[in-house]
């Protein structure tokens, strides 16, 4: 479980996060949604420690992350897996080396054990046999799946996913969404997905936090989101003609 309390973050005079709190449970897919510039990616970066919030607390199963020093944070980070918006695969390494990288760095496993783990992760994301390809040789969807494989290589307790569907076709997006949900339930990870993709919201959003102008405006599940009175949320959810037309059918 990850708990955040009263997170504030600004860049110069621009207040991006204005006191956000929430609790993200393990085994369910937690979504942070909101329009562009609402602060969702900044919140995710504050949670994983890429940004230092000016105020507020991030707790990983009761361990206060924000006040930890560099060495203490490393221990938590070994339990974190993250899929980046652009996949962030290491260009100079093959798919296999990308997945084995955290294992090489932090485990004393033999080469064959690490290879077995890499193959298992690749199998899990349906990319068997792609071990020797370089990131430049992969499609966008394949890169995302390799990113997921790398993120789960160390058996993470916490999985963060930043815009998993950006730049992907709807069919591949669904594959990625379902993969994230499956992994969350299978390994009981605390998964937090930042997205503005409504298919993801309706498909896998067990618990959803809606951000608007740096504040939390709403929280609930995908079953409740279509029946809310919050104007800002309705403007976001039913922005497209398709969603407006489908509104009465939810």
């Amino acid at each position: 479980m990850i708990e955040i309390k009263d997170i504030h973050k600004s860049f110069g005079a621009n207040d991006v996060l204005k006191g956000i709190s929430g609790t993200f449970e393990a085994g369910v897919t937690n979504l942070i949604i909101g329009g562009s510039g609402s602060g969702k990616s900044t919140l995710l970066k504050c949670m994983v420690g890429l940004h230092r919030p000016e105020d507020g607390i991030v707790n990983y199963d009761g361990r206060e992350f924000t006040s930890m020093n560099f060495e203490e944070k490393i221990e938590i980070r070994k339990e974190i897996g993250m899929l980046f918006q652009g996949s962030a695969l290491f260009d100079s390494m093959t798919v296999e080396d990308n997945i084995m990288f955290p294992l090489n760095m932090f485990t004393e496993q033999s080469v064959s054990e690490k290879l077995d783990r890499a193959n298992f992760c690749l199998e899990r994301v349906n990319l068997e046999g792609k071990n020797k390809l370089y990131p430049a040789e992969l499609s966008g969807g394949m890169k995302k799946r390799v990113g997921i494989a790398r993120a789960i290589a160390m058996n993470p307790k916490y999985l963060f996913v930043d815009e998993p569907n950006s730049g992907l076709d709807p069919k591949t997006s669904i594959v990625i969404d379902e993969l994230i949900k499956e992994l969350t339930e299978e390994y009981n990870t605390t998964t937090i997905v930042v997205t503005h993709d409504m298919n993801s919201v309706m498909g896998i959003g067990d618990y959803i936090v809606f951000l608007h102008e740096g504040k939390k405006f709403w929280e609930g599940s995908n079953k409740e989101i279509a029946h809310t009175d919050v104007e800002e949320l309705n403007d976001f959810v039913f922005a497209s003609r398709f969603m407006k037309a489908a509104k009465g059918k939810f």
Partner: protein
């Protein structure tokens, strides 16, 4: 580089010299960088050094036209100029362009494509993993390249001088072997060590703090070369002042 940047540079260096997560992986990275910086620059440094030595001999011969000056002086001036100044400084400036821009673009691209964030999330000390092997490779390979450059510059002087008839082989050899002061080698290698550090750490700093996209990476790369070259010249003066 203003004072804020210099402070950030020192803080980055502090992070670079944290204890590595796994020495074996760092060693592999160090050898890769040694190959890139050292072996990858052999040809370029060899060509530049040989020609500079040859041209230096011709210019010294041209300027020292007098019956009162023995021709052996051509060899000794070329030797001392090559060892003390030309080999360390020209090698460093050429490497700042070749290696510095590559380091800055590599790390800058990793920054804008979130690869450095990925390292941090994994719990890896990204400055240490990315920059330390480059610095170690720089401070070991640049002195070796400078030693090679010294030999080739003096040999180039021999070739240029004898082929053009500006100096006879025996006069040149007598010149380079007379009154040799081994301390000049110490000065040259001290310079090479300092320059090796600058060539790798300054571009790494420029790349590490890039924000934006391709344009900013390119600008950082240009800035890295300019700042490295200026730093090399300033340090060249300081080391010379301190050691001679």
């Amino acid at each position: 580089m203003n004072f804020t940047n210099f402070g950030k540079y020192l803080l980055l260096l502090k992070a670079v010299f944290r204890r590595p997560e796994k020495f074996k992986i760092y060693m592999k990275a160090i050898f890769t960088q040694m190959n890139f910086i050292g072996v990858g620059s052999l040809g370029l440094i060899a060509i530049i050094s040989t020609f500079i030595g040859a041209v230096m001999t011709l210019q010294i011969a041209f300027q020292l036209v007098s019956d009162f000056i023995p021709k052996t002086i051509i060899g000794s001036v070329n030797r001392d100029s090559s060892i003390l100044e030309l080999s360390p400084t020209i090698t460093a400036i050429v490497l700042a362009g070749k290696i510095g821009s590559a380091i800055s673009s590599e790390i800058g691209t990793m920054r804008v494509s979130e690869q450095i964030d990925a390292l941090e999330i994994m719990g890896i000390n990204s400055p240490g993993y990315l920059i330390l092997p480059k610095i170690i490779a720089g401070i070991t390979m640049v002195p070796l390249l400078v030693i090679m450059s010294m030999f080739l510059s003096i040999a180039g002087g021999y070739l240029g001088g004898t082929l053009s008839g500006a100096v006879s082989p025996s006069e040149y050899i007598e010149g380079i072997t007379t009154d040799f002061n081994p301390y000049t080698i110490v000065v040259a290698l001290t310079k090479a060590f300092v320059f090796g550090f600058i060539i790798t750490s300054v571009p790494a700093y420029e790349g590490f703090y890039v924000k934006g996209g391709a344009l900013e990476v390119a600008q950082a790369s240009t800035r890295a070369v300019v700042v490295s070259c200026i730093s090399i010249l300033v340090c060249d003066y300081l080391v010379t002042q301190l050691l001679l």
